[in-house]
Symmetry: C2
């Protein structure tokens, strides 16, 4: 099946030209097609500087943009001709199979829910962050869409991210851990303790609590947390990795010998950067919607966009959504979820 | 005033000999005295291998230890002769001015509260984590003692960490930020939004929400969060810093040229490690108790212990506790705190 992915070409800090370059890379050597949404004149001008297979990239003109700092809900309500809104409208019509955007991630999530709706059995769609580790990648969910969560929501995040990890990481029974502050099940806040009981009863390959330091060891495939904690972790990791490299750079620049050493080790630094680069996975999948979406970092370059488009296509080809629905139906924890809700999670 | 610091010599992964070495370093070139608590024979044997000013280090024999994986409350209740329990009992008697321990941090906190009690006006003592940044250090509080918090608790953490930062970092009006997932005051979970309103009314130099990525930039002196989020951040940072260095090491070892480069840049790497080493601040201060305590990392070496002892002494000399009480009294938010409580913080 030839898949067609919509790319919000007005999203991202680097401008539409970078998005166009990403689309061109994405269609090379694959059967994929891309629909670019944005200012037609600008996109066509950018496309004219590239060589690509005719018909594989098309442009749909849109006249509005939801800005990065704009309220997501206001933005998508007021701007019916915004690139991100039109992209999900096309997805609903079946004209495209997935949407990729490096624009306002809240607006992307809001448009996805408004135009596609929630997947059967999912009360809270969310965003999974993909981190590199010492071994394979790990999916942390939620990383920002849902800040105040109940145990049911964490359970749903676990199901969704496990379905994603199974299909995208190729792990038959992904190991699912609950992010907490001690490995024993009794440790954590009220939300985590109640969620722990739900996970124990699920059919997931639940390995119990994991701690922040386990995130990068590669011994867990899915880490579940609420969107507040997940978003803090995401930004802390970014900030720390940058600070570490910046401090190391400062020290190296202090001596001529160290600078020479750095030059000799430059390829190793480059391989290292590639290994930890967020661009490798392209972006963070939106999970729990009746369709497929990927939110990319605002700073995404063409390679990140290419990778995000390819991951979106893989999600469609591997029917990640069907697997989510199956996992939920198999567990059938409905009554238990309702009970846990009733218990509340206030301290 | 000559200060005397109690050191739980049975705490820490490296054994009592490392603690003894830390105590010897701590008294060198300072007016400090140290009381070591633990197995007398073993501690005296270790001391006999060092040279130090007579009378500056004394040993108090204790026959029990609260293990790292033991329940803090059970541990301190059942083991009256545990080194950490006896240390705080000495502190209560006035025989020592502060307690330092690299043992079970929960037991240290529990013993501190049981033997010293809470500082006037503080409902939840906590632990401040000290991070290096691109500029000065930053104190994040709470990093583990309080997992389910109300706005009042976060406000108290802000007051306590600000008093600490003023005295220990030498910043007259420490900048206090609330850890959230967006810089605007309207962003965050319910706890953060309600706490934001309290901080706005306080006399603290409150700069609003900060994000995870701001942690290491050095543009904020105090970051306030609940103990669940803070502990996850602490362990995530540790794990990420280790993973980054491990991945970089892997890449360097792959080529002879890069290995040579690393040798040339070795001093720069060493300076970098020193700059980010948790040992530089020695440990994490317990704040909100009627006394002074520092919890050190289990892996603490002698240098970390020395630094922790010196920081404990500085906290006493600078009367950090008096400043906490003054800041609280000056704000006098009593009624407002009660109101915010009543509002609850459930989603």
């Amino acid at each position: 099946m030839a898949l067609r992915i919509a790319l919000d070409a007005m999203g991202g800090d680097k401008g539409p030209e970078e998005m166009v370059a990403g689309a061109v890379l994405a269609v090379q050597g694959t059967g994929l097609s891309v629909t670019l949404l944005g200012d037609e004149a600008r996109l066509k001008a950018a496309l004219s500087t590239h060589a690509y297979a005719a018909g594989r990239i098309e442009v749909v003109h849109t006249s509005q943009v939801v800005a990065m700092d704009e309220s997501p809900f206001d933005g998508i309500r007021k701007k019916k001709d915004a690139s991100i809104v039109r992209a999900f409208a096309l997805h609903r019509e079946g004209a495209v199979d997935a949407v990729v955007s490096a624009g306002n991630s809240g607006a992307t999530m809001a448009a996805a829910i408004r135009y596609l709706g929630r997947l059967e059995g999912i009360s809270r769609p969310g965003i999974a962050g993909i981190y590199p580790t010492l071994k394979g990648p790990v999916a942390m969910m939620d990383v920002g869409a849902n800040v105040d969560c109940r145990p049911q929501h964490l359970y749903e995040f676990g199901i969704m991210a496990a379905a994603f990890a199974r299909e995208l990481f190729g792990v038959e029974r992904p190991r699912v851990g609950l992010l907490s502050i001690g490995e024993e099940g009794g440790k954590g806040n009220v939300l985590v303790k109640k969620s722990h009981e739900l996970f124990k009863k699920s059919s997931l390959n639940y390995i119990g609590n994991v701690e922040g330091r386990d995130t990068f060891q590669g011994d867990v495939d899915v880490i579940v947390c609420d969107g507040f904690v997940g978003n803090v972790c995401l930004k802390l990791s970014e900030g720390l990795a940058e600070a570490v490299m910046s401090m190391l750079g400062d020290e190296i620049r202090k001596s001529a010998k160290a600078k020479l050493g750095y030059l000799l080790a430059k390829d190793a630094f480059a391989s290292f950067r590639k290994r930890v680069d967020y661009a490798e996975y392209g972006g963070a999948p939106l999970l729990g919607i009746k369709g497929t979406g990927i939110v990319c970092h605002g700073r995404s370059n063409a390679v990140a966009i290419k990778n995000a488009i390819r991951v979106a296509a893989e999600m469609v080809a591997h029917k990640v959504n069907d697997h989510i629905v199956e996992l939920l139906a198999h567990d059938n924890l409905g009554d238990l979820l309702a009970e846990t809700e009733a218990g509340g999670e206030s301290p």
